[in-house]
Amino acid sequence: MTRIVVDPITRIEGHLRIEAEINNGKITDAFSSGTMVRLIEEILRGRDPRDAWAFVGRVCGVCTTVHSLASIRAVEDALDITIPPNAELVRNLMFCAQNVQDHVIHFYHLHALDWVDVVSALKADPKKTSEIAQSISNWPKSSPGYFSDLQKRLTKFVESGQLGIFANGYWGHPAYKLPAEINLIGVAHYLEALEWQKEIAKVHTIFGGKNPHPNFLVGGMACSISLDDASGINAERLAYVGKLLKDAQQFVEQVYIPDLLAIAPYYLDWGAIGGGLGNFMAYGDLSTSGYRDVGNYKFPPGVILNKDLSKIHEVDLRNDSEVEEYITNSWYEYAGGDGVGLHPWKGETKLKYTGPKPPFDFLNTEDKYSYLKTPRWKGHAMEVGPLARMLVGYASGRPEFKEVVDYALSALNVPATALFSTLGRTAARGLEAKLVAGWGLEFYDQLINNIKNGDTRMANTEKFKPETWPKKAMGVGHTEAPRGALAHWIVIEDQKIANYQLVVPSTWNASPRDKEGKSSAYEAALKDTPVHDVNQPLEILRTIHSFDPCLACAVH
């Protein structure tokens, strides 16, 4: 038996450490640890609830916006504020832009190098590459000349000796299976995606003033609609947003999805690896008629247990026996002892590091071993994320979900069970981006229609002043972040934050074991993952990256 450590796990957000036990070329046990903490929940205590969105926004710059969104919703819930329809739509548009951008960046810049061998691309035949590219998509940048120029550039780059971010990659590892031509397409789109991601971010800049970390507002949005003023949301700004959304849809449909479907067939074995828990959860989001109208969510909420798609369980975030956080294996302490689970409204965040003093080689995984708390739903470990959302949508019988999932399954000619895997997770993310890119355009049309009909309200400031608030109020706000179900719980007392707790998608997925020793999603998914060479943990990266880890989020 060998115990290996991969730390830092790169091409993610934050500081994640994996320790894995390997027997006969397979992982038999794995431990996931977050090794950086900031304690933002404690920093929020005593502050103005209207400011919380800005603080929690800084939990993460990769999924930037999602925490701010959950936060203003939690405050609006606590204070019973209903926001104008335009503000809902603008928030939805920002959601869509963020989701698609994050997924594309994940696929090309954080995940692709697990599947695409950059060095092999040097051997590709540009003409053949062009033929393949044109056969899978009508994306215009696909001429032989384009690919041969790129290849030349790549060759020079490699020959220059300074490989920069590509240095020390696992190039040539036998687990890389793509033909050289598809590797070259992958590299081309790596660079194109890098160009494109900064464009779609401009939707945030227009409504929120900047990206990363656009501005939000309790009660609505700060960007007034003002057709007669250069500084408001006017015809030019709206046209700009429309163009960005259309370009995004085009990029997803002509680049992302075709690449996904071109790469996947070479890795179908990964449709049986990395499945993990089999429990999936979504809180739902993106309503066409306001956040409070759960029935009209594009992403329906629900829980799937044990891969049983025939039954969807309901989730209630207010019920104090559903979502609970444990710290049995986390570097914290609870007033009521390490064994209890706390609903976030009663949550506590008190640090207590008991791990080894750095520098160290191994964590003591018998004891506490991570800065993540361990969330559970009715005691169950849950996987959240695009796969969970696609499955909940699919199992809820939503036609849009059925259509894309069935399309992908038939294109790859695999059974539905292949969804419960590393490959399934990665594919679900792409399919979701396709749905969300389309929905963005729907919300855009709705916004234009509203304005046409004379509704230009963007914020409800009736209860903006603290004098109008009750002495005590509690709220919860949720959203579907790119990495999964996200909710924030707030307790307001005397117009200040008395308690603020975030339970974050990567906390669900990357957390350490619970008090019964049950693993969360990462650890469960790593089990049985093959490892060809213990010195080159490529397979570990594949499964872990399929979750798109964000550790700054997870620990916060």
Binding site: P8, L351, P466
Partner: protein, 376 residues
């Protein structure tokens, strides 16, 4: 297969022409960079020359306590050629966010650069470093970030502190700073340090800062706090297009009111532009698309030290701890004024009681004189 790297380095100009960029493209880029750096037209030639002849610069980019939005902002840097050069053409030898290698291989890549380019590489730091509890609040590869920072700073030619985290501690250093998050300049004292604050900084500001070093081989001119003058010497307020409304006395009174729709100044809903040094008003965000104020929200001073503790966001004056949520200096002042007035009133009454005799004497003295005058 792990590719062995040599140390042969290419100039930007070589890189670019090989990539098919024309000389014209190259000149355009140089002009833009020169303009960023506030150089006269003669400076363009200098930039051009520098980029034509200077070899590539190895960069190690560390992440400590942070949110990675500075990296994200950096890759938003919009002038394509800049993104290209900075991302592909700098030798970004270590950056956890983008590098292919992980674990031991990643650390190996970093140590190779630290050794082979000792004294030559630029260290970029994103994030603060927690000093307390043996550094356990941020650990990478089983080492504390504090140890790593010391180790990697050792051979660095200069340190760039990206964002407010590395420059001033940012959100995790906000009160009560439970993890003792500490900015880099308080830890490393023997290296030139450039602070590029902002939460995050504008992508083009980040690119511009690096390009300055590449071009001139020197650090850009810094202000008293260590920020590049080129981007941090003017207040947001002084370059704000809503400034005429400020001067006119026309203000948004609450969000989305009539005045907001007219684009009036955001001063009264908490805009901190008047005390914030940043390039937002001039360069704007994401290739000039907008900036916070243009999109209706006040500046909250994200490039200033301790801006998180200068809240609440929607008030011009901060609250004073211990005086309730809405107690500002003015509230305290008004109370003090009331107390003073009451004190004065009490004192005036007391005077007339306690010093009655003396005052009576004075009065009678005066009356006597009056009588004497009458008598005459």
């Amino acid at each position: 297969m792990i590719i062995e790297t040599s140390t042969k380095r290419k100039t930007y100009y070589e890189e670019l022409t090989e990539k098919g960029y024309s000389r014209r493209d190259f000149m355009k880029f140089c002009t833009m960079i020169a303009a960023y750096m506030g150089l006269q037209s003669s400076g363009v030639a200098q930039v051009t020359e520098a980029l034509k002849t200077k070899p590539r610069l190895p960069v190690i980019w560390m992440h400590f306590q942070e949110c990675t939005c500075c990296s994200e902002s950096f890759i938003r840097s919009s002038h394509p050629i800049v993104a290209d050069i900075i991302l592909d053409k700098l030798s970004l030898d270590y950056t956890e966010t983008l590098m292919a290698a992980a674990g031991h291989q990643a650390e190996e890549a970093m140590h190779k650069t630290m050794k082979e380019h000792y004294g030559e590489y630029v260290l970029c730091v994103e994030g603060s470093v927690p000093l307390g509890a043996d550094g356990v609040y941020c650990m990478i590869g089983g080492k504390s970030s504090l140890d790593i920072l010391h180790e990697v700073a050792e051979g660095a030619k200069a340190i760039i502190c990206w964002g407010s985290c590395a420059s001033n501690g940012c959100v995790q250093a906000a009160k009560p700073n439970p993890t003792t998050a500490t900015p880099i300049h308080k830890i490393i004292k023997n290296k030139p340090i450039i602070k590029v604050p902002g939460c995050p900084p504008i992508g083009e500001v980040m690119a511009g800062t690096i390009v300055h070093i590449l071009t001139f081989g020197t650090l850009p001119a810094l202000d008293g706090i260590g920020r590049p003058k080129a981007f941090y010497s003017k207040r947001v307020h002084d370059s704000c297009y809503r400034r005429p409304y400020y001067d006119a006395g026309l203000y948004v009174e609450s969000f989305d009111d009539e005045n907001a729709k007219r684009g009036y100044c955001l001063y009264k809903v908490g805009c901190k532009g008047p005390s914030t040094y940043n390039a937002c008003g001039v360069m704007r965000w994401n290739n000039g698309v907008s900036f916070p104020i243009q999109s209706g929200h006040g500046c909250f001073g994200c490039s200033e030290e301790s801006f998180w503790d200068n809240g609440p966001l929607y008030q011009r004056l901060p609250n004073i701890a211990g005086f309730g949520i809405e107690a500002t200096a003015d509230t305290v002042g008004k109370v003090a004024l009331g107390v003073t007035a009451a004190g004065i009133a009490a004192h005036a009454v007391a005077t007339n009681l306690r010093k009655k005799k003396m005052i009576d004497n004075l009065i009678s003295e005066g009356k006597e004189s009056e009588q004497e005058l009458k008598a005459e």
